[in-house]
């Protein structure tokens, strides 16, 4: 095993151009464990995508993620970051180029917010003006006015604010990749929703490759570009939230995401998943419109109360973007979603 890993320092990059993180046949055995924590996992995360590792505790999702920054050492296999095998880099250098956010935030309580954010830039030897500018930029990005928050200690922040700083700190040296280990799990549900929205907003501007671990199905469906569902150390399904809800790979996935509950399924999907071009006159003229980010359960309610069978879909600015129809909703909620979804809706 040691020889195999040592040999990886010489392996030439051999992965697809748009793949930012690649796992190849990755295995992790913990001594004394009955089965491997991660069992021959191969998957590829596209650059700029937010991919969520989802599963019950003990499924191997955290272990899989922590092998990327080598907080766990893999037993065998290959992991590439931006085409480079992780063992080709010095341990500290590898970690400094990956942003890391953890559930317990882990802000350093003896350092002010600014110094917490400056940790990795300092390790990388940035000069002071550059670090200073970066701190302000990041605090603004995560919604904490620098003049008010720079000089605070972590204890002077709420849990939600602390995790905002945690995210700013992880992005300090502008890493292409972020690892997030249940970052919002310890935060109350109202703040959690707000932070999830913030993360989506931030991700919209920065387009990092994010590997995000959670056991919260709703969080996964809200945030993910793609979801990796794991069970007993293996990947059960790797797909978009829509496909996971509408065509779960097996009973386990179906139960995990609650796919059989129609209203629940609708509440977890967004109008954008059913967006089609404006064709129906009813939708074009009808006064009732719905936001593109609203959930389908809300859309169903609007359709029911409006008496029309289509809604106009508008974006945040109120500009029309298309329509959604009751027919599409029916297809989605039918008892046999697998047979009804158009084949072009499938992704890897």
């Amino acid at each position: 095993m040691a020889a195999q890993i040592a040999e990886q320092t010489k392996v030439e990059p051999k992965v697809a151009d748009d793949a930012a993180i690649v796992f190849e046949d990755v295995v992790k055995d913990f001594p004394g464990a009955a089965r491997p924590a991660v069992n021959h996992v191969s998957l590829s995360v596209k650059r700029g995508h937010l991919v969520i590792l989802l599963g019950p505790s003990g499924c191997g999702k955290t272990t899989l993620m922590k092998m990327v920054n080598r907080l766990h050492e893999m037993t065998s296999g290959y992991i590439y970051i931006e085409g480079t095998p992780i063992y080709a880099l010095k341990l500290e250098a590898l970690r400094r180029q990956i942003g890391y956010v953890i559930q317990d935030v882990g802000l350093f309580p003896h350092m002010r917010v600014e110094k917490n954010i400056a940790v990795v830039p300092n390790l990388l030897g940035w000069d002071k003006p550059r670090i200073d500018a970066r701190i302000d930029e990041l605090l603004k990005l995560v919604g904490l006015p620098p003049e008010e928050y720079r000089r605070r200690y972590p204890r002077q922040l709420s849990g939600g604010q602390q995790q905002r700083v945690g995210i700013a700190r992880a992005m300090a040296a502008d890493p292409a990749t972020l690892l997030m280990d249940e970052p919002f799990a310890a935060i109350d549900s109202i703040t959690r929703t707000r932070l999830q929205d913030e993360l989506l907003r931030i991700q919209h501007t920065v387009r990092k490759t994010i590997l995000f671990v959670t056991h919260d199905v709703e969080e996964a469906l809200r945030l993910a570009d793609e979801i990796v569902i794991m069970q007993n150390g293996e990947v059960v399904q790797y797909d978009t939230p829509l496909n996971i809800l509408t065509r779960p790979a097996n009973q386990f996935v179906s139960q995990l995401v609650g796919a059989e509950d129609v209203l629940r399924r609708l509440s977890l999907l967004a109008v954008k998943d059913l967006l089609e071009p404006l064709t129906s006159q009813a939708a074009a003229n009808h006064a009732l419109s719905i936001g593109i980010g609203d959930n389908l359960r809300h859309a169903l309610g609007l359709i029911m109360s409006s008496g029309s069978d289509a809604l106009r879909v508008v974006d945040e600015a109120g500009n029309p973007r298309g329509q959604m129809t009751l027919t599409a909703l029916r297809q989605l909620t039918s008892d046999h979603p697998n047979t009804l979804l158009p084949p072009d809706g499938a992704t890897t």
Binding site: N69, L71, L91, E92, A93, L94, R95, R96, Y100, I102, Q103, D104, V105, G106, L107, F108, P109, H110, V119, V120, L123, Y153, R155, R169, A170, L179
Partner: protein, 212 residues
Amino acid sequence: MIELLSKAYDYIQHNQSRFWEAVGTHLRISLTALALAIIICLPLGIWISRHPQAARYIINLVGVARVIPSIAILFLLVPTLGFGEPTALVALVVLAGPPILINTDAGMRGLNPAVREAGRGMGMSPTQLLTRVELPLALPVIIAGIRTAAVEVIASATIAYLIGIGGLGYFIFAGLPLSRYDLLLVGAIPVAILAFTAELLLSAVQRSFRYQ
């Protein structure tokens, strides 16, 4: 009592050089012993905090050493180290070491694991993690140990006189057989003041390092 105090004060006035020399020696012995205890027990404490198996044995061993009276250690050492400063220092280090060792161990083990994981995950080397995160955060607990040690050492350094080193013990041990309580106070009161000052200073330092 007032009379005793004024007699003690008069004694100091008339024996200034002897008095200040004793204070100086006392402080020098105490600080040297404390510094040695820190140099030995801080790294040892960090090490045992990472080796819980070894920690059990070492802490027990230290606990045993601690209950031996310093005065006994002093005379046990005389045959090998002779009369002189090394003997006094060893006795005082044995006294000062345990609280520093135990508190360093407790301070390091009491750190929030999330903070360590964050530091490692961000790419700190083990040394950077120790000096930038672990030690600063464990410092309040470590300083509490040093505080206990300092007070004990300052009080116990009086026995250094018994092996001919001087210090404030001189006045106490000279006054005792003569029933010269004023002389005894010339030794005892400055020792109390020194110990109290050390306590105040170090608790102020300790407070300034409290972050959470």
